[in-house]
Symmetry: D2
Subunit: 381 residues, 4 copies
């Protein structure tokens, strides 16, 4: 695994736990943790249980005992590592966002397709698809339970930038992060909406907004933010993205990604309204799904709060009895399991690089639209 | 109408509004408001729109233009007025609790039965039955939607006595109020549970508790409490009643009535668990009903939040379009409508005096049990 | 009162009930109900308790015993009646939307300003401002409890058009209704957002969508829809409006008005995020308000569900004890009360015609933007 | 670790994950998994990552490389193993319920006290104390945030026995399970209530009920239930326990444990009402805590939904950023961490065997009371 930030901890937990609950078709070890700073990577490897460390990911490429490379570095390095790894015949799990630019994503997708022809597989880590309630929402929609999708509302609400003393971390600088709320969390909203509906966004009209333009420079890093140091600098990414999107079946969706929704900590929400029903999901209540069945008797209609913890629900039979809740990181175990199963079965795991490229195109189209007075912009350019 | 306290306002609103939304089979006027203090009753009559006032309810008995007497005085006067009114051939609506003693309730029930033989009808004002969601809950249970009732949880939670400076009003004195939380709000929980399940409580084991034993004497009255005056006195009723009850089909229910549930203002809650499903109601969210259908596919089970505001729901077609919420006092209009319809149809309205007597027997049995170390006590004595 | 549709029933209830709970500074009678069809208006007057009827509203203008004219007709007649009434010296309550065009609204506003100079007052019925929780939200924002407003989310979600057999009523025809979801319910979302924040929208970028383009012609009218007749016709208004707005302080807001949000019956929702906190409101849970205080200790922060039913809350002391819920129509009593008080105090009631004109300008700007590829459009033209 | 059922999986996850997130003061290995059937225990060890297996727990007693014995067998074997282990100088973690009888618990407590004198420590696994929201609830109460505890409501609601075809597993047989809902889940409600309030129950009045008396014999085991085999037998434990308890400060609490609460899967609920506020917890929504502050301004009071996911909350800083939810099994990591820390610090971990004995006394008192017509029964005998 390359990278050892917050996502490194989450992916490690996925690799560690998946084989203890699921019957994986292959044994997966936690072999080498890679990071640029040897002290840091050694400490992380010891903590998380990786057998070895390395400071250069290239050293993994020639090793026969390494089959999978899991990339959890910042987005600007994804393309280089992923392409090299695929060319070296390693299966690649790449954390989202896939890349900082569409051009990189296109190159990565081409590399993935070339690799696939040789049985080498690539996948992007839109983990929230694998929250059981989200997977089950997809199942309900795919089974026709809500009929034709007629409108969609997707949002990802956080509030950690409301405090003006939060410093100017790399996440707030365009050259490092690519974009702000849009790419960081809006990407999840886009992927989830496309995943659950089975549709793609074909065009968008959007607005990006930086609410607090100047912030103290960063002192020490800590978690997703850090402490304020001396001096200040300009925020060069969006704090908030609002856009309307047109889906491939003609339905409209509203999208919101914001780090200024005071009181909302990690609220990835999706509501899909169809001709026969609706589903409603909120990551802050991740073990349940709202389902409205418009074909029920008129007096009995309402949103049903389904706890997605029954053995018949996706992924659940491996875990606990009904009503025993899962948490944030379970999705990483599901992702690890599905990836390993796909590799052994020699089947393309999802989301593929091509799927993730589509998300990158939507992100780029929103930026273009926002820079162009919110004019409607196709996602196919 | 006899009495002009808080319940007087609510009943007046019922009589005023019912004919404006429902097609009543008879015209009902708001004729005479009766109260002991002429100043007070005249002010109330002017405010609420009653045509005349009187200071002695006996003057109504001989008037041919009076068909209905609505009794909203404190419980200790109900028996005398109700019996006299029924004997005078007046239909009687009597506010709950029906009486302060079982003996009075027995006498009232006998009077009601004698009157019924002559076509004169009597009813008790357990209004919460007529919240549409509660009525609909009864309908679902009666239709077998939750199967056999297997357990019941009923509670009525308030918190207005948590503040130790709340004075010693009449509601806290046994000789005036009969009992405390038990009779005032516990009676509602009992009635609602019996109404929705269609069962009666046959035996109980309970405990009564006075949490704050001494309070300041009352200064001025205001709303349901008042302001503290000088001096203090002993609370002689229960602040809280907890009891377990056995229903006529053998199912157990837990009951709680309390004025010390900090933060709960008016939470009359009922959950009925059956062999095929469950219903869940909370008066603090009175426009909706939770319904669990255990016959649905395993992956789709959950409590459905039904907004009981569709035209097909009880009472709703007279009001607003779907999703337009009703409030506390709508039950009083429903009660007025149903009473008038029953009178015109010459059919016994519910709850009858006999039904309410059953509630009084339960209250008395709880007191007996509490005074007897929580020993199980039959409600039929 | 001119008009006797659904809004006629609601306004009648307001006039009927307000004097019974509030101490109005003047006595208000329900004198003349006006409608074009004498049979219909007579039946409605009898039902609702109006003393007289008329078929021509002009006959009211010369009557000295008429001080207030309440207009609840469809929007296309508001301008003519309101202007004539104001010129005749009658105080005017006008139901929203104020008019079908900005031009009419400008003329009405001019008439209102001329009338105001003579002490004749006009007001528009954006009733939802007077839901106590909404009024209290405004109070919290105005008191600085959430700091500077930084983003807004407003939506009004209904689902009555999801059923494709719902017929082509007047509400779905542009020449009669002006617009669809946008003007009918989006107007409420706009007014509420502006009211609670104390800000105005200065520019918008939006999209309008008709999801089901062809519907059966209407057979019989019933409630807000009706039954399907023979033949079919084209829907000429929007089923759904999505737009982004810029507020006068620079903050962005997202807006959604839809009749296709399956399972949402009457969900007017508003969330205002500020630098020190947030408020959250949902008309489907109208007795409560969510309030997030970002100045509380970090471990104790969260949305507080405030039941806006305490005597210290707006309008509540006239009603019931804490925890006794109000319903949809209570806002009409509050509106009647505030209007009468403003007239007696010779003070401008709110929202004034000028306030409502601002809403009309926003609606028009959304339509312009939608017709212009979602280009940002100022609301001041 | 001795035992490898459902609790074995949960405890294994605790031992596996705790060192990866917390900085434990000692390294803890997963050495020997013990079970009677060598096939089963070997499969479980391989799956869960234990290094060795054994079929007789006594073989652990003499091994110097074993410091801790974790007992997750059924309750009837706890006493023997725990006492032997403590006498052999092994620290003991014992899953709840501590034992099937009070006599065993007394013996175990004596052994634990003797061992403690030699620095050997024992603890019982009431894991739900270590759900961060529950721990934080205790902190709020201990800090006086809700004032004096005045009433308590505790319940543990499940519904897996509503289905009459669920077979007669060992959990439904008194000789194996000790009791039914009372000991299995009621014990959690008792422990949690005592833990959060800092009080103990001194007397109880209760009722036990078997709702479905006869069930099919068990075919194959699966999860907490199994499949029905041929023939049927009598259920000899309670399906439901209802009791009222008196706390050491005089406050009353109501308790309910049931496997017949249709639609409730794993709802351990606790509400503690105090003179200055209240807390409300539900295990089905385990990342949040309701907190009512009765000292806030009257207009701003309400239950605050605190997401207990901030770094300042108990245990959270080791996990994810704010708003990233934890699940059921995180409590087992917290328990492992706290136990290891206590051992290294040579301090008594909680709950101690003495604490758990107190819970056993309450359980026994409920049984005694239930067998004695619900007579009030002291917990000190």
């Amino acid at each position: 695994m390359v990278g050892y930030g917050f996502m490194g901890a989450a992916h490690s937990q996925g690799w560690r736990v998946a084989p203890r609950f699921f019957d994986l078709p292959a044994q997966v070890g936690m072999n080498v943790l890679v990071g640029r700073h040897s002290d840091g990577v050694e400490a992380a490897a010891a903590k998380w249980g990786w057998s070895e460390t390395a400071t250069d990911w290239r050293t993994l490429l020639d090793r026969d005992d390494i089959d999978i490379i899991d990339i959890v570095t910042p987005g600007d390095s994804h393309a280089e590592i992923a392409i090299a790894a695929l060319e070296a015949g390693k299966h690649v799990m790449c954390e989202k966002p896939m890349s900082n630019t569409v051009a990189e994503a296109i190159a990565m997708t081409a590399a993935a397709e070339a690799a696939a022809a040789k049985g080498v597989l690539a996948m992007v880590g839109y983990t929230y698809r694998r929250v059981p309630a989200a997977t089950f929402a997809r199942d309900l929609v795919a089974a026709g339970k809500i009929g034709e999708v007629q409108q969609v509302r997707a949002s990802y609400l956080q509030d950690w930038l409301v405090d003006p003393t939060v410093p100017l971390s790399w996440r707030l600088q365009k050259e490092l992060a690519g974009s702000g709320a849009l790419g960081d969390i809006g990407a999840h909203a886009i992927d989830l909406a496309q995943f659950v509906t089975g549709l793609t966004l074909t065009a968008v009209s959007g607005t990006l907004e930086t609410i607090i333009a100047e912030r103290p420079l960063e002192g020490e890093r800590s978690g997703i933010t850090g402490t304020a140091g001396e001096g200040s600098g300009m925020v060069t990414v969006d704090d908030m993205a609002l856009f309307t999107g047109r889906f491939s079946n003609g339905a409209l969706g509203s999208f919101e990604a914001t780090r200024f929704s005071t009181g909302r900590k990690n609220a990835l929400r999706l509501e899909v309204s169809g001709s026969l029903g609706a589903i409603s999901f909120d990551l802050e209540d991740l073990n349940s799904l709202g389902f409205y069945d418009a074909t029920a008797p008129a007096t009995e209609q309402g949103f049903t709060k389904i706890y997605v913890t029954e053995p018949q629900h996706p992924y659940i039979s491996a875990w606990w009895p009904a009503g025993h809740m899962l948490g944030y990181e379970h999705g990483f175990s599901h992702q690890a399991k599905d990836f390993v199963e796909a590799i052994v079965a020699a089947q393309q795991p999802t989301p593929s690089f091509a799927d993730a490229l589509q998300v990158q195109r939507v992100l780029a189209a929103v930026e273009t639209s926002a820079g162009n007075g919110s004019a409607w912009t196709s996602t196919s350019n």
